[in-house]
Assembly symmetry: C2
Homo-oligomer: 366 residues x 2
């Protein structure tokens, strides 16, 4: 082992349970053979339960951003108008991917740290009937805010019948997201968050209006072509060689998640989110997200206190306390730090973070 174990509190990658490592050490198999047929069939079936969907679900060998790209190139054509709601770095990333493939991106931006307002989306859709799709980040990892996807979906699907593309990378498998219940057409996530396995796989649910859109979508695609993925999945394969070891981990992780039950998983995240926010406030620190009802239960963004050297704080936490925090991204760099509390994490892990902060903060002048 080259690397010493840390209290890794980035909002993904998350620590990995021992049984996942053991599963990942299973020997390689022929990805065109019967053993793989069983593996992908089992994983796909159980992923659908976690996505709470009867739609298609695909396993992609990529990180979550690959699934975001797949959601775009499989539903849209260059010039298609897309309303891109963003209140942080990951919302911007999704919109940038739309831009890269030539969508006509109508950016609807909110203060970083604020929730996306469903009413603003309603107004945006009312103002421009040519908008074909709405893009939204369910849980904005860069700010620790969970947007009100249920209400947003009610507007986008229920009132306007537009295509709904959801980035659920840091929410699915942690926070409630009933894909069919909320009528989401395309939902993307990654393996290194709620699923407690390493990065390297992405999962995407695709159905409802999405397959109809796929028929006419002319954005170029090859590696992320979901029509091709579906053709292969029907015979228990993937078009390209899949990340087998992560899929072994996925099978074990899905069994763990379904054994615990989705309600149990959601409750656990509600409870640890509350525990983290309460602890942070007790230290005299302020949360970036002022709206407690929208505070994320997977990641907490904490305002860097005035006159504190954030770099020094994070480096002392890492080097002397063995606690790895995440910094701010984009325009929040230096202004916040973030504590991940998703997937494989206990209150003891968070207490360790809080205790360490209690020791380190005074040393950097707080």
């Amino acid at each position: 082992m080259n690397i010493v174990s840390q209290n890794l509190r980035t909002p993904g990658p998350t620590p990995i349970p021992e049984d996942i490592y053991a599963a990942m050490s299973d020997p390689m198999i022929n990805h065109r053979g019967p053993e793989f047929f069983d593996l992908i069939t089992d994983c796909t079936e159980k992923l659908k339960q976690v996505f709470m969907t009867g739609k298609d679900v695909f396993i992609l060998t990529s990180s979550g951003t690959g699934a975001l790209e797949a959601s775009i190139v499989n539903t849209l054509s260059p010039g298609d108008k897309v309303l891109a709601a963003s209140a942080g770095s990951f919302g911007d990333r999704y919109a940038d991917a739309l831009d890269a493939y030539g969508a006509d991106v109508q950016r609807l931006t909110f203060e970083w740290g604020e929730p996306v307002d469903p009413e603003a989306i309603r107004q945006g859709l009312q103002a421009d009937p040519e908008i074909k799709a709405v893009m939204i980040t369910h849980n904005e990892t860069s700010t620790g805010v969970t947007h009100d996807l249920q209400s947003i979906a009610g507007v986008v699907k229920g009132e306007f019948g537009k295509l709904l593309l959801v980035d659920a990378v840091s929410s699915l498998g942690c926070l409630p997201l009933p894909v069919d219940g909320w009528d989401c057409d395309v939902v993307s996530t990654g393996s290194q968050k709620g699923f407690m396995i390493p990065p390297g796989l992405a999962f995407i649910s695709f159905g409802g209006a999405a397959w109809a859109a796929q028929q006419s979508a002319t954005m170029p695609k090859f590696y992320f072509d979901l029509a091709e993925a579906k053709k292969y999945l029907d015979r228990g394969q993937t078009p390209w060689t899949p990340n087998l070891s992560a899929m072994y981990g996925l099978r074990a992780a899905l069994n763990n998640i379904l054994d615990e039950g989705l309600e149990g998983v959601f409750d656990r995240h509600v409870s640890i989110g509350q525990f983290t926010r309460d602890g942070v406030r007790r230290l005299g620190l302020e949360l970036l997200c002022a709206d407690e009802a929208r505070a994320s239960n997977t990641v907490t963004a904490v305002k860097m206190p005035a006159h504190i050297d954030g770099e020094a704080l994070m480096e002392l936490m890492r080097a002397e306390e063995n606690v790895v925090l995440a910094g701010g991204q984009g325009k929040l760099t230096g202004h916040i730090f973030r504590i991940g509390h998703l997937g494989y994490v206990t209150e003891a892990d968070i207490q360790e973070v809080l205790d360490a902060l209690g020791r380190v903060l005074p040393r950097v002048g707080f």
Copy 2:
């Protein structure tokens, strides 16, 4: 462990050595932190040694096909004329990817089982000065033929100065491919072959005329944007969350490969390739590749004897002899079977295959 260990003789994924599994069980780290900086810097530096190049080398979280897509979208614009030389299923796949992104693909095809003729490439380039790039598969996994890349590169680069895109998925790290020595602009490979780690990473060298082409290439790209990858690599990161566990395996694998020495790796493949072909011929079977000088040292394609049920042969080998062979692909389905002998493989493994074939072939009527 869910899966019983087999003598897995697919030409990738290959079996994984124990020390790689151990390395892959290292704990997760922050992919924006100093531990990852060390990991990616070390891996990239050593990958350059294996690629024998001073050009840029990138590690992508995808399978090899993702790197092929990256080689296209980072060098070309829709409508660009590309001479696509293909003599098998993987050559066709690369050409299909070019098609998908709107290149004007001039297909130069050869019989499956034959080598690509450098003279035909010369004639193709002479006939059409508008051709901007040539695409070639170094080792055609579907037919067990290693094309004469050195001569082809001499024509494409030395005589015509065109861009050269090379699929080296089943050759790099097994067969000699001096990227700079042969002046290859872009070379793509995957993790699950010569590198002896699981699928889930792709590696791509990019330089020479490629960066100049990148400046004007208008094919859309986001996940596979190498300019973005370079910007992040300069600070020891990747744009998107990388497949950490496979990178831990990669670090260990690169140390093994460089400890053995590239000449040792190449010699080992020459010797096991010869051992396999000799053994197959001794069984009275015929090779698909008639040209011994171009027979691949990573995979051997064997003609299915007349009146033999190929499905039955492969299923008996798997179910009763615990040997997993690969079938034919595309139009060779049913007409050949293939034995992989790349990466982590010994003569004893191959002898086991030959012995098993000796027992099973008579049972299916040979």
